[in-house]
């Protein structure tokens, strides 16, 4: 029982990171039709940005909590700014040329990983966090590392904020309308391109949060970490239904839990296979994903 509980919470923690990445991917795809490979770079900007500020700028702060929080905040700012810059410089000139946009993000992702390896080395960097994050809390006999709670709570807060933003604000309305029918939004005289930059910035911040949290989860940040998380986020996005935040959240939980359970009860590595199998089954039975948006409708 206690093992099961530990696996469940850990799976949810993993799912939380998938959701943070997938939500941005899904919004960007829904609005702009771009599969954003550079999301892996946004994750790394968050992770490495936090690590860099921790070791170079805020290393004078004695309180590990504040040092971590301030550095993480700077990581998020960098992630959002970098994402907005990518949209302005690389995506916007290729407006409405989807295939080129995807290719540019692929090139950026590859070049960025190479740059990280060149700048900071191929080895992973240790990540300092307040020690209590790695203590455990005992719940019903299960010793659960504290960072799992932070990951889950962050994802829930981000989900709530995103939904609030999408449902209650004018820009949220434009984005939702744009996901549904971009041509109509433009016909109404609204400059949808501003929403593109905004969606990239939001996605970049969410991905940077995932980068910060993955540093806590794995204890290190490495150059390839973003890429490996990104692949499962892609699976989450397809299973959840492209363009749907709620679908991504549900799919992230399912994928995270499935991975943890099967990796433990079957054997290590099987979990990853089962997730891919799940993707195949979903595509065969419900090609639209959980949330019902048409998979690949933009093709």
């Amino acid at each position: 029982m206690s093992t099961f509980l530990l696996l469940t919470i850990t799976g949810l923690g993993l799912g939380a990171m998938y959701f943070l990445i997938a939500s941005g991917l899904s919004l960007i795809y829904g609005l702009m039709g771009v599969l954003n490979f550079a999301h892996g770079a946004f994750i790394s900007v968050g992770g490495y940005g936090t690590w860099w500020f921790q070791t170079n700028v805020f290393d004078g702060i004695d309180s590990l909590l504040w040092r971590w929080l301030l550095s993480a905040f700077m990581g998020l700012v960098l992630g959002g700014a970098f994402a907005a810059l990518v949209e302005l410089v690389l995506i916007r000139p290729l407006y409405s040329r989807h295939i080129e946009q995807v290719l540019v993000t692929v090139g950026l992702q590859l070049a960025f990983v190479a740059l990280l390896i060149g700048g900071f080395g191929a080895d992973a960097k240790p990540y300092t966090v307040p020690p209590w994050l790695h203590d455990t809390t005992t719940v019903f006999g299960a010793h659960i590392p504290n960072d799992r709670w932070i990951e889950i709570a962050t994802a829930i807060v981000v989900l709530a904020l995103l939904q609030l933003f999408l449902r209650k604000t004018r820009y949220g309305l434009i984005i939702r309308a744009g996901v549904e029918n971009r041509a109509m939004v433009q016909a109404l005289g609204i400059d949808v391109r501003k929403a593109f930059t905004l969606v990239f910035a939001i996605g970049g911040i969410a991905a940077a949060i995932a980068g910060v949290l993955s540093g806590v989860y794995f204890n290190v940040v490495g150059p390839e970490q973003g890429t490996s998380l990104l692949i499962f986020a892609f699976i989450v996005v397809v299973i959840g239904g492209l363009g749907s935040i709620g679908g991504s959240a549900a799919a992230a939980v399912v994928v995270g839990l499935t991975q943890q359970y099967t990796n433990y009860y079957a054997s290590a590595g099987i979990g990853d296979m089962v997730v891919v199998l799940l993707l195949g089954v979903v595509l065969l039975t419900r090609p639209r994903g959980f949330a019902g948006a048409v998979v690949g409708a933009r093709a």
């Binding site: 795809y29 829904g30 039709g33 599969l35 690389l90 000139p93 290729l94 409405s96 040329r97 989807h98 295939i99 080129e100 946009q101 995807v102 290719l103 540019v104 692929v106 090139g107 950026l108 590859l110 070049a111 960025f112 990983v113 190479a114 740059l115 390896i117 060149g118 700048g119 996901v179 549904e180 029918n181 041509a183 890429t227 692949i231 892609f234 699976i235 996005v237 397809v238 363009g243 749907s244 054997s267 590595g269 990853d272 296979m273 891919v276 199998l277 993707l279 195949g280 595509l283 065969l284 090609p287 949330a291 019902g292 948006a293 048409v294 998979v295 690949g296 409708a297 933009r298 093709a299």
Partner: protein, 361 residues
């Protein structure tokens, strides 16, 4: 008719014929190569350039010729590379048995996975192929049956390999093998492009709804292109295994497919010479830029400038982005001005503009 004969068959034959005499040239080309052309080191580099030229061309069957953007092509190359090796090294089969078995498995696997992944189209297809390839990569890494040796990689049992391809002295044979494979793939693609399925592939790339309206089942044709390209990729994987005396995890990784995509786009998608040129040039630069990065001129630069120059993948990634943005026809697009080439033609297939009507989000 005669002009076509010259352009389609005699030109390529002349080029491949010239490439075939390269191992007999004992010349030193100081800046381009460290060692004389006929030395094993240079020949091995040239052979891997040729293999990547061929692999890029197999990828282009899907991407440039049919408009399918796959992120999982590495799966079939890895299958060829690993399964042929496992057959001889772990199961102690004869080499030719391993080759036949590998090709058969590649055929069946690409049929099954192609059938499933082609239910999705456009970008979703790309993601699904990526996921399948990732499953293959995990399988090779975790190695549940102790066949692949995980991160160590699996060295081939050289007693089972054809003796003509074993040993440094025989590097020239490997070069010829790579060249022969490239020529075979080149002429197969040449022949396919003019065949009736090949024309349907091109039509699917240019305008898939129209193909459907004409009463053809575009999915069946796409599956055909997928299987042909995947089986050729598996054959390329076997050549790759011979060239590198074994199998390593790098061929299984998603980045391997992305590298092929870079090669095809840099050279010029949907063009035989473009894909081949891209593959050759990329592989050559990837190898040689390391030498430039560690040269004394670069070492004297400040760190902020030196770091990017020491990373070939960074430079190639930047070149790729610039080509996508400013030269969508790739390098061959410079020569073939005025004709719609490269990405311009594929754009419609993968990312059409027409916004879909969705029922609720």
């Amino acid at each position: 008719m005669n002009r076509d004969l010259v352009k389609n068959w005699l030109w390529p034959l002349a080029v491949f014929g010239l490439l075939a005499i390269v191992p007999k040239i004992a010349v030193d080309v100081p800046r381009l190569f460290d060692q004389p052309i006929d030395s094993p080191g240079t020949l091995a580099l040239l052979a891997s350039c040729l293999v990547f030229g061929a692999l890029a061309l197999t990828y282009d069957i899907q991407f440039g010729y049919t408009g399918l953007l796959s992120f999982g092509h590495a799966l079939y190359i890895a299958l060829g590379c690993y399964l042929s090796n496992i057959a001889i090294t772990q199961w102690h089969w004869q080499f030719w048995q391993g080759v036949l078995f590998t090709i058969a498995v590649a055929f069946v696997l690409s049929m099954v996975l192609g059938f499933v992944s082609l239910r999705a189209t456009g970008i979703a297809f790309a993601m699904v192929t990526l996921a399948f390839a990732q499953a293959g990569a995990v399988l090779a890494l975790k190695d549940p049956h102790h066949w692949t040796h995980g991160e160590e990689g699996l060295g081939a049992d050289y007693t089972k390999l054809p003796q003509a391809f074993v040993g440094i002295f025989n590097t020239k044979n490997l070069y010829w093998l790579a060249l022969a494979f490239l020529a075979v793939v080149f002429f197969i693609v040449r022949w396919l492009a003019d065949s009736s399925p090949g024309r349907v592939w091109g039509a699917i790339r240019d305008n898939e709804p129209r193909v459907e309206v004409l009463g053809m089942r575009s999915r069946a044709y796409k599956l055909q292109a997928f299987v042909v390209s995947s089986v050729l990729a598996a054959a390329g994987g076997i050549v790759y295994m011979l060239l590198f005396n074994g199998s390593t995890l790098s061929v299984t990784e998603p980045n391997f497919t992305l590298t092929l995509l870079l090669m095809v786009v840099i050279g010029g998608a949907g063009s035989r010479w473009g894909a081949v040129l891209g593959g050759i040039l990329y592989t050559y630069l990837d190898d040689r830029l390391v030498a430039i990065g560690s040269s004394s001129q670069v070492a004297g630069l400040p760190k902020a400038l030196r770091t990017p120059l020491e990373q070939p993948l960074f430079l190639l990634g930047v070149v790729f982005i610039l080509i996508v943005m400013f030269l969508p026809g790739g390098l061959v697009g410079i020569v073939q001005r005025g004709r719609p080439t490269g990405l311009r033609r594929i754009r419609e297939a993968v990312g059409g503009e027409a916004p879909p009507v969705k029922e609720g989000v």
